[in-house]
């Protein structure tokens, strides 16, 4: 049997904008980070089902928000009957960590202002990790279409995963539905420990765990907001004092 000629290396011709977009989609579909994201949103869908957040709204929240911590605060605040303004404030504070993520990606996403605004809308942890990996070595004109291919695929997959998780939770035996509902909280709390770098990260985690029941027992309106401000604030102050003493 004659040997087949070797396939031409892909990089001979530049892929062009459409090609780069498709490469972005392919990168998303084969990404480990993408699989973790998919599993997290299956868990999110399951959690929505198990705490009684409506199906359409669960899917809609993934279409529009694309940030699991924001969505977690949103749905738990809703079922706890918190006021909208309070939930908005809690989400607002938790989403602030997206700002530096967007800022560090912008040098690789040079485009018109409104294109950048649209690109920024998709930034969350997974997309940030994958963009930092793929974008820097690419030729500049291909980065933006590649990014949108990646981001849109992640977004559509997350929406599908939310739908799937919700439907699964309703059809699985109860024990498994409960397990599915707890998947996201469990992986989140481990991820907090894994991603912790400084004292402030560890302290805020511990303070958050300890203060949460205290503020619920105090029956504070929007308890989580206070947990964040007091717990995070104390953690930050302690780290600052430590640094000041060390200096």
């Amino acid at each position: 049997m004659p040997k087949r000629p070797k396939a031409a290396p892909e990089k001979i011709a530049p892929p062009g904008k459409v090609g780069a977009f498709l490469l972005g989609m392919r990168a998303a579909l084969t990404s480990v980070q993408g699989m973790v994201l998919f599993a997290s949103y299956v868990g999110y869908g399951g959690l929505c089902a198990s705490i009684g957040f409506p199906f359409g709204a669960a899917v809609f929240s993934t279409v529009l928000v694309l940030a699991l911590p924001s969505q977690l605060l949103l749905i738990t605040g809703f079922v706890a009957g918190n006021a909208m303004l309070g939930i908005a404030l809690a989400v607002f504070l938790s989403a602030a960590r997206l700002l530096p993520s967007v800022v560090t990606l912008l040098p690789y996403l040079r485009a018109r202002f409104w294109v950048q605004i649209l690109a920024a809308h998709f930034v969350a942890v997974s997309i940030w990790v994958e963009s930092r990996r793929f974008l820097p070595p690419m030729p500049a004109p291909e980065r933006v279409p590649f990014y949108f291919g990646l981001a849109l695929t992640f977004n559509i997959a997350s929406v599908f995963a939310t739908w799937l998780g919700f439907v699964l939770a309703g059809n699985l035996p109860q024990a498994f539905a409960i397990g599915l509902g707890f998947l996201t909280p469990m992986s989140f709390i481990i991820a907090l420990v894994r991603n912790a770098r400084d004292l402030v990260d560890y302290l805020s985690l511990v303070f958050g765990l300890v203060l949460a029941p205290v503020f619920v027992w105090l029956n504070a309106p929007v308890d989580l907001l206070w947990v964040g401000l007091f717990g995070g604030g104390a953690a930050w102050l302690i780290q600052r004092q430590r640094k000041a003493r060390a200096a």
Partner: protein
């Protein structure tokens, strides 16, 4: 407005006004403000602390005061599975997958035993 909040539209309005806008505020501000903010500035460190504490708080609240289906399993199981998850995470050289699988196994097995 309060009538709207009690209709079926309430969760959708909540998603737009309390989820989408407060989240995208930061994404858009980043584009507008550009590189003026440093990741390790005091302000960003404070924000990181607040965000961490709130996420930890949400999870603690789900464990202690859950709603819906999660109420079907007792507190010791909801808390126990997280403790097991952490133990497995550290025992398996900080493997997140091991932690999640161990925690889920305990939760599902426990729920199955208690509910069937």
């Amino acid at each position: 407005m309060s009538e709207l909040m009690h209709s079926g539209l309430a969760p959708y309005l909540l998603i737009i006004f309390a989820g989408f806008l407060p989240t995208d505020f930061w994404r858009w501000t980043a584009v507008i403000a550009g590189r003026k903010l440093e990741e390790d500035s005091e302000l960003m460190t404070f924000i990181r602390g607040v965000a961490n504490a709130m996420v930890a708080g949400v999870i603690m609240r789900l464990i202690i005061f859950p709603s819906g289906e999660l109420l079907a399993v007792p507190l010791f199981l909801r808390a126990g599975c997280v403790v097991v998850a952490f133990a497995a995470y550290f025992l398996c050289r900080r493997s997140m997958l091991a932690g999640v699988i161990a925690g889920e196994a305990v939760l599902i097995a426990g729920a199955y035993y208690l509910l069937h």
